[in-house]
């Protein structure tokens, strides 16, 4: 979403779904995995909205939807392409919105070639490096920047230096070449039309294993429920992201929502449904290798790597990223305090440099290769929860030391004596060098702190009781570990110790355990001005070192010295926007890009969809929400050519984070695998790509090595050895790898056993009996599960072939109140090239009746499987 709109967060909030006229839930089983949020979908349905569920399985979400469309796992881009095709061919786009608020009218360069011209590739492909260079994707006579945090990966994967930009080219706030009639053959709208010409209902139905009429019905429902008077929303979760084409799938939805004018408006938007209490928060304040807080990129190893170079190459000159200098300098002031001065580039040189992909799967490879020696595993259970969990266990068995912090002894702490590899004899306890520290963690009821939920809302939870025994918060752990390390560094010689020594690391300590004050940390995240007063919003940030701010997008969460995230004015006493319940980033805005809820002149598109509008009397924007726009910038404000930062954004351009203020139908920068989504088969698929001779995403990240072999696909020889589609998912009663549910008696009782869902047809074919055992295997592993025969899973006709699938919930492991094999052992580590997320939906497998081999027989069994697939230890 960052690439299309400018920010990597849900554009709307859950309660607003009640105002949708049509909700498409795709890549998500919302009723089972976000049951309480789903009440807002039900509210909308009660008011007459259509609720459409597009999903391979018939789930409880499908049961209450007004329409369920089954499609093949991994074929989402084709299905979304079918909807886009329908909108364009029938001229159903919301013309006034599209012309003014998106880059539909922008003229592209002559040398841009589409994937339709080059059989699945765009111009700029380099087969030798398996990546793209991006010049040809740019606007004519203007180079754009991707939204920050996503731009650096470019240069990494394509192995080209970041290019310098020419955004000064904006003429009075508009890209230099546009055709507002949308007729020019080089304009984005016409490029889009040609790109999607082949995604007809018939073709899409053939790829997805569905009926052409379903494609038409869903597209028509969306078109009929979009425009001035009506709005439609999309909800998705990890069944969209966990693919080698995850980012491009979300791009598909973004294109639809921009064409139909549904972004920034009530009842519209794209709601990313995240699975963990603070998963949004952990990307905003990122424990991610490529980001600093607030989506500021981590600096790269370059020849010219001073602060000025960084701001020059990472900050756009126009749009809100034009203030990159203020964000990074304020961050450095928060971290290095008085040590950070203008003279020393505010200690910018003290930050480490990245050079390539350092994501978690890369770290696992580093452990296997002996390069990564120490590992902190904090509230996470990769021995069960990560793709190819067997490889993770082998990796952890090759460490020097490991710290695991959790409520109980999870599989990632116990692998050295009870991993499945110990049972098979492949690992021996006495031969595992890993020194393990298992440390008890405090629960959320035992500490103060804030979670950022799926709608960018920071909500404070208060400590109710003290943790028992040695249990401590992670805040305590890192604060005291940092204190110790700083004491040691002050006394002994260490390489490059300044960053540690200079760090501001003084937080008030509370109680017997000397717990650091979480509110003081939140206040640092919010930031303060030169007089030490808490800042009220990010517009107050300065680049001269007079302000400090730990995360610029969170600036304002401690406004007026009040912990805004702890606000709890009851919802019943407020409008549905509930602006006084907790605090949302940015600047407490609940629907972002909400300038788009008014027409170019600033008037609401309709009385029914009124949200934020221009009020001439007060000379500013007003409405139900905080305007996501400069409050006093007139709708007809025309920037001077050469204007900088937000001053360069025209009064009618709502996407203020983008260089040009427009929603990007076509992404000229910030994405590595193409400016438009292209249909590729999953990395492992029983089907040959019906559209292009390029089978799978050519940019996907692979890790070919022993224990991570890939099942062959049809274009390879022996592509039929794994004939069935495999996908994994979650159950209402469990939570990911089970650390917070297999330890809970009531939840374990409700879902005690690992099972596989198969259709009656597949059951008959393979002699599977409901309630009996089956073993499921891939090139990586074999697991056993109870058989659940159900007609909720249907075989599909794809390219004239009947395709069966096996569905597996992935919550089990060797420990806890209920145990079972881990479905994640079956998966391969193959990743989306933009965000390095693994493919867990739509791989291949085989299934046979009976229990799996045990102990030393397992390696022999798998070797035989690999030999049949002619893998011989290679991919």
């Amino acid at each position: 979403m960052g690439t299309s709109f400018g920010r990597g967060g849900a554009t709307t909030f859950q309660q607003d779904l009640q105002h949708s006229d049509c909700i498409v839930i795709m890549g998500s089983n919302m009723a089972e995995n976000h049951p309480v949020g789903f009440q807002w979908v039900m509210e909308a349905r009660e008011r007459g909205a259509q609720v459409i569920h597009v999903d391979p399985r018939f789930t409880r979400t499908s049961a209450v939807a007004t329409k369920h469309v089954p499609i093949r796992a991994g074929s989402d881009i084709a299905f979304l392409g079918g909807i886009i095709h329908y909108i364009l061919e029938n001229e159903r786009a919301f013309k006034e919105y599209v012309v003014n608020y998106t880059n539909a009218s922008v003229i592209l360069r002559e040398d841009f070639k589409d994937s339709e011209d080059l059989d699945g590739f765009f111009s700029g492909w380099h087969a030798d490096t398996n990546g793209y260079t991006f010049e040809t994707w740019q606007y004519k006579d203007m180079d754009m920047h991707g939204s920050a945090g996503q731009r650096e990966d470019h240069s990494l994967l394509a192995k080209v230096p970041a290019f310098s930009q020419k955004v000064d080219a904006l003429k009075n706030g508009e890209p230099p070449h546009m055709d507002k009639t949308l007729q020019d053959p080089r304009c984005v709208y016409q490029v889009l039309k040609r790109h999607y010409a082949r995604y007809t209902p018939e073709t899409v139905a053939r790829i997805c294993g569905t009926e052409p009429q379903h494609v038409i019905d869903v597209a028509e429902a969306l078109c009929a429920n979009s425009g001035r008077e009506r709005t439609s929303a999309f909800c998705y979760s990890v069944a969209w992201t966990q693919h080698t084409t995850g980012v491009q799938t979300i791009r598909g939805a973004a294109i639809i929502q921009l064409l139909l004018g549904n972004i920034g408006r009530p009842g519209g938007g794209i709601l990313a449904l995240r699975g963990h209490a603070s998963i949004q928060g952990s990307t905003d304040i990122p424990t991610l290798f490529n980001l600093l807080p607030g989506y500021v990129p981590m600096p790269h190893a370059h020849a010219h790597d001073g602060l000025k170079d960084f701001i020059q190459s990472e900050g756009a000159k126009t749009g809100y990223w034009g203030n990159m200098d203020k964000y990074i300098v304020s961050l450095l002031k928060a971290w290095f305090g008085e040590r950070a001065t203008e003279k020393n580039d505010f200690c910018f040189d003290l930050l480490p440099r990245i050079s390539g992909d350092h994501s978690t799967y890369r770290s696992i490879m580093g452990m296997l290769d002996g390069k990564v020696k120490g590992f902190f595993c904090i509230g996470e259970n990769p021995a069960v929860g990560s793709a190819n969990s067997g490889l993770h266990r082998r990796a952890m068995a090759n460490l020097e030391w490991l710290v695991v912090r959790d409520f109980s002894e999870i599989e990632s702490a116990s692998f050295w004596y009870d991993a499945p590899e110990i049972e098979t004899g492949e690992l021996r306890t006495e031969s595992i060098p890993t020194e393990v520290f298992w440390m008890p963690a405090a629960a959320h009821t035992e500490k103060d702190g804030s979670f950022t939920n799926t709608q960018r809302l920071l909500q404070w939870h208060h400590k109710a009781v003290e943790p028992q025994g040695d249990a401590r918060s992670d805040l305590w752990f890192y604060y005291h570990l940092g204190k110790r390390i700083r004491e040691k560094i002050a006394q002994q010689q260490e390489p490059f110790s300044d960053p540690v020594a200079f760090l501001t690391w003084n937080y008030p300590e509370k109680g017997e355990t000397a717990d650091p004050d979480a509110q003081a940390v939140l206040r640092e995240i919010n930031g303060w001005d030169a007089s030490g007063k808490a800042l009220s919003d990010y517009n107050a940030l300065k680049a001269d070192g007079s302000t400090a701010c730990g995360c610029w997008i969170y600036c304002g969460c401690f406004k007026d010295e009040v912990n805004q995230t702890a606000r709890r004015k009851p919802g019943s006493e407020q409008s549905w926007v509930a602006p006084e319940w907790a605090w949302a980033w940015p600047a407490n805005r609940r629907i972002i890009y909400n300038r788009a809820s008014a027409d170019p002149q600033g008037k609401p598109w309709s009385e029914r969809k009124k949200y934020v509008w221009w009020d001439d009397e007060i000379g500013g924007w007003t409405g139900h929400d905080v305007p996501d726009f400069n409050k006093t910038k007139r709708p007809d404000y025309t920037p001077e050519t050469g204007a900088k930062a937000e001053d360069a954004i025209a009064g009618w351009h709502p996407f203020i984070m983008q260089d040009d203020g427009l929603g990007w139908l076509f992404v000229p920068a910030g994405i590595v695998d193409g400016p438009l989504p292209v249909y590729y088969e999953p990395h492992e698929s029983p089907v040959k790509n019906p559209l292009y001779s390029q089978q799978a995403n050519p940019c996907r990240q692979e890790f070919p090595r022993t224990f991570n072999e890939s099942n062959p696909s049809p274009s390879d020889a022996h592509g039929n050895v794994f004939p069935f589609v495999l996908h994994t998912y979650r159950l209402t009663e469990h939570h990911t790898a089970g650390g917070m549910s297999r330890t809970v008696p009531r939840l374990s009782e409700l879902q005690p056993e690992f099972f596989c869902e198969v259709s009656p047809e597949l059951a008959q074919m393979r002699g599977l009996v409901h309630g009996d055992w089956a073993m499921i295997f891939t090139a990586r592993a074999v697991v056993e599960a109870r058989v659940m025969v159900t007609d909720r899973v249907k075989p599909m006709r794809v390219e004239g072939k009947t395709l069966h699938s096996v569905g597996l919930p992935y919550h089990w492991g060797s420990r806890g109140l209920v145990t079972g094999d881990s479905a994640n052992d079956l998966l391969s580590i193959t990743l989306d090239p933009n965000v390095h997320i693994q493919e867990t939906k739509g791989l291949t497998c085989d299934i046979i009746a009976g229990r799996r081999p045990r102990g030393a027989d397992v390696p022999g069994f798998l070797n035989a499987v690999r030999t049949r697939a002619h893998l011989d230890g290679r991919t």
Binding site: E380, H444, D470, P516, W581
Partner: protein, 185 residues
Amino acid sequence: MNDRALWPVLRQAGGKDPLALGAAAKSQKTADWKARINDAKVVKSICPYCAVGCGQKVFVKDEKIVQIEGDPDSPISRGRLCPKGSATLSLVQSPLREYNVKYRRPYGTRWEDLPLERAMEMIADRVLKTRRETWEAKDEEGNTLNRCYGIAHLGGATLDNEENYLMKKIYTALGVVQVENQARL
């Protein structure tokens, strides 16, 4: 409260509640019963499972949590909790929770006890040792790296923002770049 003095059967036969589903079935004893959350302190919280962000009310009596319920004030959840959220009390009081540090030495075959302070000291030493041993000052082309490549971190996404912030801050200062979380998964 006059009718409380009578026998229940008389209240049922003679009163306005012939089915004994209301007033007739009540007695002084039932009137004296109190909910276990009565007199408990209410602490406002947020559900730790998924990212819907339901409001929770944590009831505390004698420094012990006695109940966790949905918070009707929350505009998102309006008092509701799902099966996981409803089981939060069982989560924080799980029979499998442990409260003491455990240590497995290299090539060891069993867990050993280790005082918390000692564990903290040992971990700090391990961090500095690995940092020293795997320090990368420059790459092959002479570009500055200033990082420690031998340490990696993987965190869950039920951690607080404040915790993530301190982690990122100290790791970055130490030069640890392989800092990752569940959001990647």
